[in-house]
Symmetry: C2
Subunit: 468 residues, 2 copies
Amino acid sequence: MQQITLELEGKSPMYEQLYTWFSSGIRSGRFRAREKLPSKWALCAHLGVSQSTVETAYALLVSEGYVHARPRSGYFVSDFVPDAAAAAPAETGPAARQVAPPVRDFDFSTSGVDVSLFPYSAWAKLNREVIYGSPELLQRGDRQGDPELRAALSAFLSEYRGVRCAPEQIVVGAGIEYLSGLLVQLFPPDTVFGLEDPGYAALDSTLRSMGRAVRDLPMDADGVTPETLERSGVSVAYLTPSHQFPMGLTVPADRRSRLLHWAASAPERYLIEDDYDSEFRYGARPVPAMQGMDGAGRVIYVGTFSRSLAPSIRVAWLVLPESLLRRYHAVAAHSLSTVSRYEQAVLARLLREGIYARYLRRLLNLYRSRRARLLPALEAIEGVSVSGSGGGLHFLLHHARYDEAELLARAREQGIILRGLSAYCRDCAPPGGTVVMGFGGLRDERIEEALRRLRAAWGCGYCHERKD
Amino acid sequence: MQQITLELEGKSPMYEQLYTWFSSGIRSGRFRAREKLPSKWALCAHLGVSQSTVETAYALLVSEGYVHARPRSGYFVSDFVPDAAAAAPAETGPAARQVAPPVRDFDFSTSGVDVSLFPYSAWAKLNREVIYGSPELLQRGDRQGDPELRAALSAFLSEYRGVRCAPEQIVVGAGIEYLSGLLVQLFPPDTVFGLEDPGYAALDSTLRSMGRAVRDLPMDADGVTPETLERSGVSVAYLTPSHQFPMGLTVPADRRSRLLHWAASAPERYLIEDDYDSEFRYGARPVPAMQGMDGAGRVIYVGTFSRSLAPSIRVAWLVLPESLLRRYHAVAAHSLSTVSRYEQAVLARLLREGIYARYLRRLLNLYRSRRARLLPALEAIEGVSVSGSGGGLHFLLHHARYDEAELLARAREQGIILRGLSAYCRDCAPPGGTVVMGFGGLRDERIEEALRRLRAAWGCGYCHERKD
């Protein structure tokens, strides 16, 4: 353990000193990326401070992206550029004390999206029209979301995603995270939730903070198996079947029907289908949502505008089956809507007037051509292969020669910050040498330079000499 | 028990038939307002249906405002105009299956607010400017709320409410309900929460649905006492000290300092100060927030734009003391903001440019003059007295001659829907003959007619004859 000097007589509280010591150490490179921090217990013992002091400091470090926690393993330094002010912590979002997420030179994060095609003029025009034309929108609206937006969503989801639902089944809310918290309340306290592993961390922490039981669900090449669900004693499983996050796989039709059969074959079993980036498919055939195949009313469909329209637009939706709709009415009896009615009215018109569908087509073309520039160039690097690229805004890159740590370190040396697959694993052991590359936020004019650097990082020796 | 005929061979599910039977019965007047419904147990036994069928039907009835539940007492028919389509259920908000809350002829609800002075042109102008002028607002923002809005709020709250906080202590979110759910997660699972009784029902249901322990806090004329807090084993108390809801009392300074002393005198004790309608004080001296008196960092301050600006604007805020801020960073590590950044930017400018403060002054004058028309006229009715009218948008009306049921029934005969104080009581026994009257949503042009009807309803015999 490195020597830690805490100025006990200092003005700032102990946790703050500890936090500062680690964060500055990580920035300055005293701690290396992926290095394991001392355990909380060891640190308490070593410093003679309370557990809560250490917990607070570590929580701050995690919250600000310096460090990530791996359940049952400990705390690890994030992949962080030493002392580079421009480098943002990767997936964990903007630091709580930072003003705004800095723009990254080479944004390979999975949360980045391109807003250059955002339909500004339509957005501005519709905003103006609803503000002046609809004074009733100042009054309290329907807690489930305004009927116009729900009707427009139901028509859109039916046409583009094969979702079969009445507007009455839709609940509009301020982001998937908020809606997930609401959704969890529809299930009895002893419900066991299953999460894909690797998968999203956010729901895991929502569920745990609500005191709910969570099981990690390992996957095969087609996603989670019904046998795994059965074995793990899960009754509600959260899945991303269109484009699994982060593996990028698409659950095939036969697996889907077996999963639906699993859900239908016992009471209180549900599948939560998070269709988070299904708008973007690059193959010939888009895969319709599982929800449309569900005859038993056991699929909850989840979607959002935050990835398709803009990250700052905090509007997502749930489609509830009839059985849960009744519980929703009971649980939400005192709830109010969490979305501005102006924004709902604008979104309803974007959908109804076809502006949103046209915008998605243009956006799909933009992402398609970006992907077409990236993938062949990356696959041309000796040892590199790519998977999970059939849809969405990220894929996996595998390297035959380097393990994950080496891949990340070599990219970092070239000023490119990436995340390894292991960052998304809770209990799973990721295959060696895999990184998760998002391209939604990567600026087109930076692609050539990014590729040049990645070739330098990961290419073979003589490639370095040839400098191509 | 009335004879219930359920068509078991009917197409609709049992719970739906049961729901329809009660709701149509309530609308048609077959069930009288405030009548107790059969217990769930009795209904199950009588009909031979499952408990969940009855629970679902009752939950729907509650959710749509036909019925309200009183803990440990049962289900009661709401004060509902028989078969009048224009009559909305009172506090519970728009029915989930209804398109929009109908406009009431005489809106004495406590949730109504006046939006006639809403600063449309500034709102529209600022919206236009932020949409065109700030493309960065499409990108993901700070999960705590954008720094500009938090800075503006911190300055505003300091000037107008005596709240002392740095922008770093503010968390902006989609409504008080959402933020309350977040707040609850900052406290350990075994925390015992205390709620004013009578008081808001929403937090009660949030807490219970999260499996938290809740105690009802009886009050004296100055609100909750520290002795009550001590005795009930509560560690976190939710209070509305500026204008208690629904009693309308203002907690005086000495009680405040004793409450603060209670909070400071043991670890993990907190007071949640909901300052929901403190913008409106009609007396000489506005009462600053308790938060500003708190030297120990034990007050969480809660406020919202939904009552001052417009109900559809779903933006509220928490001010967290340092100790909880650390926990917030840990709990919210995976959270994203729940409020549109455009809306945040517009609100920040409304605050910073003084538009909001000017608007509040005009609004205060409007409410002051409405109150000045209502109160003396009501107090002139023989037997009537008024309390809790020093601030906010509601007061209590007491009648020396009629009990609550009579007061409500007589008003209802005149087409005026009111709520009795008992509707807000969980464990408390309300003093006889008290109704809760909101005037935020009452249209000025309806006041004379409303007063005429209330005089007819509650006046003495010879007054009826005089027809004044």
